[in-house]
Amino acid sequence: MIKYIIVRLALVVPTVFLLSVIVFATIHLVPGDPITVMFGIEGYYPEEVERIKKFYNLDKPIYWQYFVWLKQMATLDFGNSIVRGEPILPLITTRFPRTIMLTLGSMLVAIAFSVPLAMMAAKRHNTVIDVFISGISLTFISMPTFLLAVLMIMVFGVYLDILPTTTHRFASGSTWDVIKGLIMPCLSAGLVTSAGITRMLRTELVDNLHKDYVLFARTKGASDNRALVFHNLRNAVIATATLVGLELGYLMSGVIIIEIVFSYPGMGQLLLDGVTRRDYPIIQITVLIFALTFVVINFITDLLYSVLDPRIRYE
């Protein structure tokens, strides 16, 4: 087990390295540079732009820039944003937790909805309730997150006017403001995610319903619900864990859209802002952090797997 963890962790290094090369190359190959973009269509003054580019070493060859960046990263110095002119680290440290909060919050919503729904559907499988729940899941699965988010804003933010449509109170507010600010983003991302999980979990639960160990638990005296939770669900979760891990990854990338729609001050917005402004250092670091998070999520899912299913032990 320990060996497995070490090998997995060791693999992260070349992965991240390779990724950094790809990201670096890609963003420098895409036309437009931070300085040109900064001055925009109207204010492009060639000499000034060249002067500033020189100042930021943007006139140097790409490999040279890459090695400077690598050297910098080796000392864990994230450097400065070109267009903002301020250090990147504080930008990351305030936003990364918010994105994690959003991702986990969404997953929590997804699980909070999908587990009871799947259990309800499985318990009453092939009844009207089951069909109804399947119908809802199908609707959510085929609904773009974006659309759901907009609907949510229109209903809860505008029509009912019970939740904030901006995040300025969220960003510097009390716990209550933070929770209020999280509700709609987490619901939009979470509900879409929950649909997939519900469907898979329901299928697993129904498959398990007639498994001998569920029936055996019943003959031991376990109630319907206890057998469903302790025996059926427990096993269904194992099969679903893979999906949850995958979905968590999707969520991570999906929150970029959510962050834009809800003006949520997280990593996704930072990345998008970096891309549109060609702010190379920001793009590099946010992409790497996203990638690392993916790796960590995968890793945790794998470990969780072995905790959930005693038949799997990594050697």
Binding site: Y44, M154, D161, T165, T166, T167, H168, A171, S263, Q269
Partner: protein
């Protein structure tokens, strides 16, 4: 001695009533806070180093300027109490005595010099510098007086100073970080900036204009998604959004959603959206008949109707009809028959295929599509190359890899910014390879003279030349901007140059 009043007249643009008619009879009230939506986070809050309008909107309320354009685009003193043009290369200015920076210190002439010098020397201030670059030296005469020595006679410098924010000398010299910790002399003071979310300004109680500002607090929130901005305005979480889509303007004009009103909009008098040629390339370089064929084939009314959905006018020049610099002789009629005839004379009876570069913006794309339809009528097939803005800039400006293009320029108050910027052979905005010694001479003289009538005559000649020769571009329309406001917002003034002013804004709860 020419007094300030001369300048007033020379830079004045027709008086239009710009204030929203007061819906409530109440007198302006002090207090309250409002939230304004920006569609992107400003990259920093240093007004002097602004590279995009967003930074100006976000930081201008914290800053005060020597002079400013009033709501009718007439230049007036702000920090400057008075000024005199000693000669076309020397302007002396006297500042008010009660101007304080947010750090509590009284502003002196040395601060003005430091502020101007910073703009001249910091490469990041290129955008602001472009309009004051003829200032060679600022000489401090006494605590409240300084003299600007110009390298060449330049009447546009005063207009340029409306964009030079005054900052305290100790911050400039101490390399203080104005990007994240702005200090100015403006009506509002910096309070906090939550990156990615919002920044908040509070009233500066020692602001030099009596009784201003009225608001206690002014928060800018960043909402990159237009739909989110609209939702926030409708729910009242946001009080002002600065730029409504044409579609919403049209819909809201007759029937705005409950609690929302439109500002009177359409203020961008000096702005243009145009069809431009790369004159370094054939056939544009030598085939004037072909360019003229395009000029007559473009139906400006139709193009404006399509691209702006009726929220903005068709135009013949970047200088609008409302401007005192406007000359009715520029007008010409759309004439398809003439265009067809010109195509034959130009040697293209069967038409031709033309590359057309378009930045992916909500206004330029539909406009280019309108051009495409119209030119098809004379056999010209426009092949649109729609590129994301950063890519567009790279291809257009750096690589100059285009044959024709549709682009636009936002609003300005001085014709130099619209005419000279694009047409002087050395101007930064001349990306067409346009070069004409006569035009250069007229433009230089217009800049050098402080006489309004002469300037008007010279700019008129330049515009007439451009229109007659269809080079380097054909203007179709100007963009317009409408802001959406909550009903509670009073005292909002729609600015011609899209430099918003929050001094008089108050809330009527």
């Amino acid at each position: 001695m020419k007094r300030a009043s001369t300048i007033f007249a020379s830079l004045a643009i027709g008086a239009l009533v710009a204030a929203i008619p007061a819906t409530a009879q109440d007198a302006p009230k002090r207090g309250g806070s409002i939230v304004v939506s920006l569609n992107a986070e400003p990259t920093h809050l240093d007004n002097q180093l602004q590279t995009e309008k967003n930074i100006d909107w976000a930081s201008k309320p914290m800053n005060a300027f020597l002079v400013r354009f009033n709501k009718d685009a007439v230049l007036e003193g702000s920090i400057a109490e008075s000024w005199e043009v000693i000669n076309p290369q020397e302007i002396r200015m006297t500042i008010r005595e009660n101007v304080k920076f947010h750090n509590g210190r009284v502003m002196t002439a040395a601060d003005a010099k430091a502020s101007i010098d910073r703009v001249l020397n910091d490469p990041q201030a290129a955008s602001v510098k472009n309009n004051v670059k003829s200032i060679a030296l600022v000489e401090v005469n006494d605590d409240r007086t300084f003299t600007m020595h110009l390298s060449v006679p330049d009447s546009t410098v005063l207009g340029g100073l409306t964009a030079v924010a005054m900052v305290p000398i100790e911050v400039v010299e101490g390399q203080g970080d104005l990007k994240t910790n702005p200090v100015g002399a403006g009506p509002f003071m910096f309070k906090e900036w939550e990156r990615g979310s919002h920044h908040t300004l509070v009233r500066f109680d020692e602001y030099f204009e009596e009784g201003m500002p009225l608001l206690d607090e002014l928060t800018f929130v960043y909402q990159p998604e237009y739909g989110a901005e609209i939702a926030s305005l409708r729910s009242g979480d946001v009080d002002i959004i600065l730029w409504l889509n044409a579609r919403d303007v049209v819909a809201w004009r007759d029937d705005s959603p409950r609690g929302i009103k439109l500002d009177d909009g359409g203020r961008s008098v000096m702005a243009l959206h145009y069809f431009a040629f790369n004159l370094e390339r054939e056939p544009w370089k030598s085939n004037e008949k072909l360019r003229l064929a395009i000029k007559y084939a473009i139906d400006r009314d139709e193009a404006a109707a399509i691209a702006l959905q009726g929220t903005g006018p068709a135009k013949v020049s970047g200088i609008a009809k409302e401007s005192p610099y406007y000359d009715p002789n520029w007008e010409y009629e759309h004439d398809l028959e003439k265009a067809k005839q010109l195509m034959i004379e130009a040697g293209y009876p069967d038409g031709l295929t033309v590359d057309h570069l378009v930045p992916k913006t909500p206004l330029e794309v539909p406009l280019a599509q309108a051009f495409q339809q119209q030119l098809a009528r004379i056999g010209i097939k426009l092949e649109l190359r729609v590129l994301e803005v950063p890519t567009f800039i790279d291809v257009w400006v750096r690589q100059r890899d285009f044959s024709t293009t549709t682009v636009g320029r936002e609003s300005w108050n001085d014709p130099a910014n619209i005419v000279e910027f694009f047409m002087h052979s050395e101007a930064p905005g001349n990306r067409w390879g346009f070069s004409n010694p006569d035009v250069d001479a007229w433009l230089e003289e217009a800049r050098a003279t402080f006489d309004f009538e002469r300037r008007k005559e010279l700019y008129s000649m330049v515009e007439q030349y451009r229109i007659d020769h269809a080079a380097p571009f054909i203007v179709a329309t100007n963009g317009t901007r409408y802001a959406g406001l909550r009903d509670r917002i009073e005292g909002w003034i729609s600015q011609r140059d899209i430099r918003y002013d929050f001094r008089n804004v108050w809330v009527n709860d």
